[in-house]
Amino acid sequence: MVTLVLPRLAARAEQRFQRAAAVTGRNVTAARHFGYWWVLVSGFFEPVLYLLSIGVGVGALIKSFTLPDGRVIPYAAFVAPAMLAASAMNGALAETTMNFFGKMKYLRLYDGVLATPVKPFEIALGELMWALVRGSIYSVAFLGLMVAMGLTSAGWALVALPATVIVGLAFGGMGMAIATYVRSWQDFDYIMVVQFALFLFSGTFAPAGSYPLVMQIVVQLTPLYHGVELLRGLTTGVLGWGLLGHTAYLIAFASIGLAIASRRMAVLLYK
């Protein structure tokens, strides 16, 4: 019985993956065109600029930076993992909110795809894989820079890389779910404000422990905080059971997002 069912399940999973990969493949094809390539490359610079400005520039104004637990580290080493997490978030959200919405509503790209055997869940998966591919390229480059600047070691950078994929997954899944509720471009103003607030207040530029108490509690509910803490723990080499908790939170967040997204897409597209 098992010997019969398992290969069938595996074959179905493989077929699903192949269809999702076809959706990803479309994006790779589009990315090869000139204008788009520039956009992709420029995406790498934003977190680097923040790191240099806030981490190094403002860091120079901070004579000594003491964490709430008493450790003293360079301010740049504190900010860098946060920028890494934020860049994973921004990369995933850019692809899965704006671009995804544009493809669905304006380019009507998926209307064509749905006439093929590809299912909404596979479209969602394919887009998410693309967001992760793109985000991972940025993460690799940024981690390389951190190693070069002496902000982490090569070993920890290797460990941190899969963690950035988890952060991307969490935001990518949720981004897509949110995009299915967006009515027009104006709604992105709201998404952007939330995204920016997360960017600023997730223990990014100052330890969350230094926030007022109410804010600390709110912040601990939000996903970027967990991404920042996870990556900060890894790149500064401070391990603890807490990191598993952050990881679990992020994975749960991703699954919920993806489940909502594929259900909503079926509703929107199969009219």
Partner: protein, 254 residues
């Protein structure tokens, strides 16, 4: 009959009525959040060092005011202009009327400056509430913000009229707007930058705006003297405007 420039301005106002809610968020709330995050939390650490001579919050608040002017100008001079050429082709529609190309550019920029002024007033009020205003010259920060808006919106108009896909705006933001925001003296003095980067900061319109705004709200002198900074911003405005009219004519010629 109203002047065609004013007609273009009015056209923009009509569309603004539909989208003002979202724009209040992005043009007012974002800088305030920045002020809170940096001024209050990071500020605690910076002030312990005490290297700036003023509270960190007081230091970055005027910088953020000037950078708000840049953000609003950049946001309004990019996608909406591209849309006017490519998506809803508003400019093509206008060209079929007595409206001339300089009218289009001026009318649209006038509207952007109004938006800049509104955001600047809002931000200045928030600054006052946080006790970050320390000089009777503070109201002078408003015309400075408008001037920064003009000095950045005008050249960006030229850029927007030149590019063919809107993807290129990401490039503009990442290679011009964001670096300016981060390195033109808003968050830390440009003196600590390496020489080449400092030279770029000096060329950027934002740095001059930051200097003037900071002088206005703190009552401190500027780096090069007020008129030097103002002249620099005027230069950017005039050159940008001429270039924009030129690029618009080119774009609408075919």
């Amino acid at each position: 009959m109203a002047h065609p420039t004013y007609a273009v301005f009015e056209h923009q106002l009509v569309s603004y009525r539909r989208v003002w809610r979202g724009s209040v968020l992005s043009s007012f709330l974002l800088p305030v959040l920045f002020l809170l995050a940096m001024g209050l939390t990071v500020g605690g650490y910076v002030d312990r060092g005490g290297g700036l001579g003023v509270r960190y919050l007081d230091f970055i608040a005027p910088g953020l005011l000037a950078s708000t002017a840049l953000q609003v100008a950049a946001g309004e001079a990019t996608w909406p202009v591209h849309a006017g050429f490519v998506w809803h082709r508003m400019y093509h529609g206008m060209r079929a009327t007595p409206v001339r190309i300089p009218d289009m550019v001026r009318g649209h920029i006038m509207y952007i400056l109004l938006r800049v002024a509104l955001s600047a007033v809002g931000f200045l009020v928030v600054m006052a509430l946080f006790g970050a205003v320390h000089s009777a010259w503070a109201p002078a920060a408003l015309p400075v913000a408008v001037l920064v808006g003009l000095a950045t919106a005008a050249p960006i108009f030229a850029y927007s009229a030149t590019i063919s896909t809107d993807g290129m705006f990401a490039v503009l933001f990442r290679f011009a707007v964001v670096p300016m925001t981060l390195f033109a003296g808003v968050f830390f003095p440009v003196d600590s930058l390496p020489l080449a980067a400092r030279a770029l900061a000096y060329v950027s319109p934002l740095w001059h705006g930051v200097e003037l705004t900071r002088a206005a709200t703190l009552g401190t002198p500027t780096a090069w003297g007020g008129w030097a900074h103002v002249s620099f911003l005027v230069m950017w405005s005039v050159a940008g405007y001429l270039l924009a009219v030129h690029r618009f004519s080119r774009r609408l010629a075919d």
